[in-house]
Symmetry: C2
Subunit: 562 residues, 2 copies
Amino acid sequence: MNIVKVDMTEGVVGKAPFPRPGRLDHMLGGRAVIDRYLTGHVSPRVHPLSSRSPFIVAPGFLAGSSAPSANRLSVGGKSPLTGGIKEANVGGTAGSKLGRLAIQALVVEGKSSQWQLLKLDQKGINLDPADFVMGLDNYEACERIRERYGKKIGVLIIGPAGERLSANSTVAATDPEGRPSRHAARGGVGAIMGAKRLKGIVIDDTGTTLRRAVDEKAFRAAVKATIETMRSGGPYGEILRSSGTPWFVDLDNARGSLQTHNYRLGSFDKVNDINASKFIELNKVRGGTMGHACSPGCVIHCSNIFHDAGGRYVTSSLEYETLTFLGANLGIGDLDAIARMDRRCDGIGIDTIETGAAIGILNDVGLFDFGDAARAEELIEEIARGTLMGRILAGGTELVAKVFGIDRVPTVKGQAIAAHSGRSMKGWGVTYATSPQGADHTAGPVGAGDLLNPKGQVELSRNSQIINTALDATGFCHFTFMYRYPQVIMPMINAFCGTDLTIEDFLELGKEMLRQERAFNLGAGIGPGADGMPEFTKTEPLPPTNAVFDVPDEEIQGFFNF
Amino acid sequence: MNIVKVDMTEGVVGKAPFPRPGRLDHMLGGRAVIDRYLTGHVSPRVHPLSSRSPFIVAPGFLAGSSAPSANRLSVGGKSPLTGGIKEANVGGTAGSKLGRLAIQALVVEGKSSQWQLLKLDQKGINLDPADFVMGLDNYEACERIRERYGKKIGVLIIGPAGERLSANSTVAATDPEGRPSRHAARGGVGAIMGAKRLKGIVIDDTGTTLRRAVDEKAFRAAVKATIETMRSGGPYGEILRSSGTPWFVDLDNARGSLQTHNYRLGSFDKVNDINASKFIELNKVRGGTMGHACSPGCVIHCSNIFHDAGGRYVTSSLEYETLTFLGANLGIGDLDAIARMDRRCDGIGIDTIETGAAIGILNDVGLFDFGDAARAEELIEEIARGTLMGRILAGGTELVAKVFGIDRVPTVKGQAIAAHSGRSMKGWGVTYATSPQGADHTAGPVGAGDLLNPKGQVELSRNSQIINTALDATGFCHFTFMYRYPQVIMPMINAFCGTDLTIEDFLELGKEMLRQERAFNLGAGIGPGADGMPEFTKTEPLPPTNAVFDVPDEEIQGFFNF
């Protein structure tokens, strides 16, 4: 495996073997690469958009193999949104293709004088002018790119928001159909890429084969066992295939943890207009899809495709977080409007969570009324056009708050709190409070036990974060639920790498990554005091549970005692 | 002495004796009150604009006495600009009047449903409706207030920027002529006040007398000795009276430490158009003033008044920091334009340093050309009108950078670096890097020794910060240069308070205050890693010295070892 380095200032590309000197380094992939590179090679005080701030792309270490649902890709660097370390995780085809091209990491530094596309294939690595796609909506840009480079490519691309270096800009990844529907969405990774004047990355794995394991026979057996565990691992596999993440809408609504009306409620009176049942009902008539696979080798199939009333493709995939933030959090009970907004966010290259949170707080200053879908769509068009209002909104929730003098700001470390309420699900609250990534929707789910009891939540969140962080090195999708059964994947990892790593090694990897991320943040000036939920969550009860976030600060401050 | 507490939510005011239980507490005034109150009574994670975030006004502990130049006032709370602790220091008449009314501290909490004025006099403390001055330029508002409350009042007031809760908004203080020309300018203290819906504070000390010392005879002798030391303390007293702070323009230009062209140069080709000589030359013809006193009991008289070509008052006081940031840093060599902008900033209630820095960085994205005074004035009018561009600019330099994707950001802890370059004056650089107040123009001057040698600057800055921080408790103006001769004021302090405090006690006060400020910041999430100059100052040489900021990070990190 190789590390590809690109110096955009000089237009020079290089490839070198990827060293893995330590025992745990066999598992050095994905988020672990970002953590290692940033802590080892980058001043944490660098400006996120400076030429010295690297843009990093790294597939999980199992990428390109036949490991199931293990082709997730990590995209990261220093976040323009949070000022701290950032890994945003994405599906699509790029992870698999990079793995098959034997590229374990792509590190882009410098700043080009012209916008470029980076082309990677078996023949080599090249920079091409990006003029023909500048300013375009991601959907249109990807069509142009596929016209030029063929249909077999995977594309990573930034939209107009990333070109403008907005702090809430994504890196889109094309799905198996070639659509830029999957997004490394959080923390403004699109702006890190844009600051290099890198518009897109085109990956063509033509001629490659699946990566082979060191012990291929044992690996095949382990893959089979893993798939079986996934499929028999409780009801979730079935639910995700039939309903996808929209299934969470009803679940969270019922337990009062669905962020609604600018985080003021935990359930939504129009929940039946945006839940999985409604989605499936419409799909039956319109021909959309549940059980779509977002990336090669996926055995979960939780992605979906949404059609309009005319049966035409609108967007993929309408996830729980999007339904919450462009729906419930804005009081919008209209799947068509949500789908249009999701599609537009994907086209502009902005995170739907941060966008919905940023629009939501405008309600506090009379600039947005709950339920006003037309206004929400209009505001998203402002982002598309890059007006001043659009630039403000694309700067993220905290920036919007600062511009308009809003004092109730639903963020941690500069990033909007995700869709499972941390008041009604206190373990999630601890995850938001403590993750070095800021309030994050994948950092460490805590969905079991007494969700409203503050006791023990720090430990539950810690265990979850450690395992999920390690998972982000493998390339495994979190919906494999392997964070519940990490022991299942160890034989597969060992067969693939030719190692005798234990579950303790795997957990140690997660701990080491979290420690590195925290160290980077400390160096960047984000101290332990930044670990905590916003004050308003501690004093403002959230109906219908009327819970506040009451996990004691002392316990939160003890999170990193591991 | 008393502490006045105001609950704006309930409209309740109360007065209680101000406890001073400890030995050092005799010196509990000004900035020390803010430090003590915030660390003792406020969650550092509170939002700066929330009803739980107090707005604090505290004169120095000598205020209202006959101590010379000791009527400075501290205004503070949790900064909406930096997210950390903030004390902004201001002259004018309010400090003296509060002292004479035996008010050592004013703590305002809650949030009124209507905008209010707080009236303080010997008869009591009242809240009055502020409707008649809402939205007005500070100059006009102060005229209205004086029409209603009489000419003997001192006024503290926020302008339109403070009403809008902009992160770069000031609290104006009226000078002896009743003009809102003095500003507690830095860190957005105007927004903290505005968040309470407190438009102004009207202070009438009619019927009061100078505060008397415990040992009046010894105090008078000590005051006399202090004044003599001030007047004989080197050439500075004479220079400040004849030239005021504009004198620094030539000095810094000569040593290459005058922030010019968006911090890209250390000297300015049009320096002769904005320096003290030019100012004095115009004054001779137009009738402006040098040697103006900004507050009662001042023996320095470094303030000035600037007239236009028609001999009409434009503004007071055109200080070095303003000449630099609305002049050299924007490439504007036109005293009239600078004076107009200063007046407008005073009227809107925004800091000239932060404003000039924020406009300056727009040059990086083609939105401002150096020397274009008309454009700069137009941008300031946008702030006055509260347009989106105006709100962005009034959000401060870092916010502007985030909106427009600018990666060269001349701030520390969210606050624009002040006028003495930290590259050509490395001790100043250490002060910017380490002050809990963010990059600040009064936190700790270092102007002696080998300014370009990185060695020893941490110690020089530490000593300066300790003494200047303690001075901010006394009410002494920094231009008394008592930071060079703190021993001179101890007999005065002891006679006034009836104590036997030593110079070591005085220094311990400064240390304690700095430790408290740092502790508050740590609690607010601003970790030690935030102590440092921006990366670009370490790599980009500043002509004409071509110095970079090269004080080692390890030394910077050792700053708080005291």
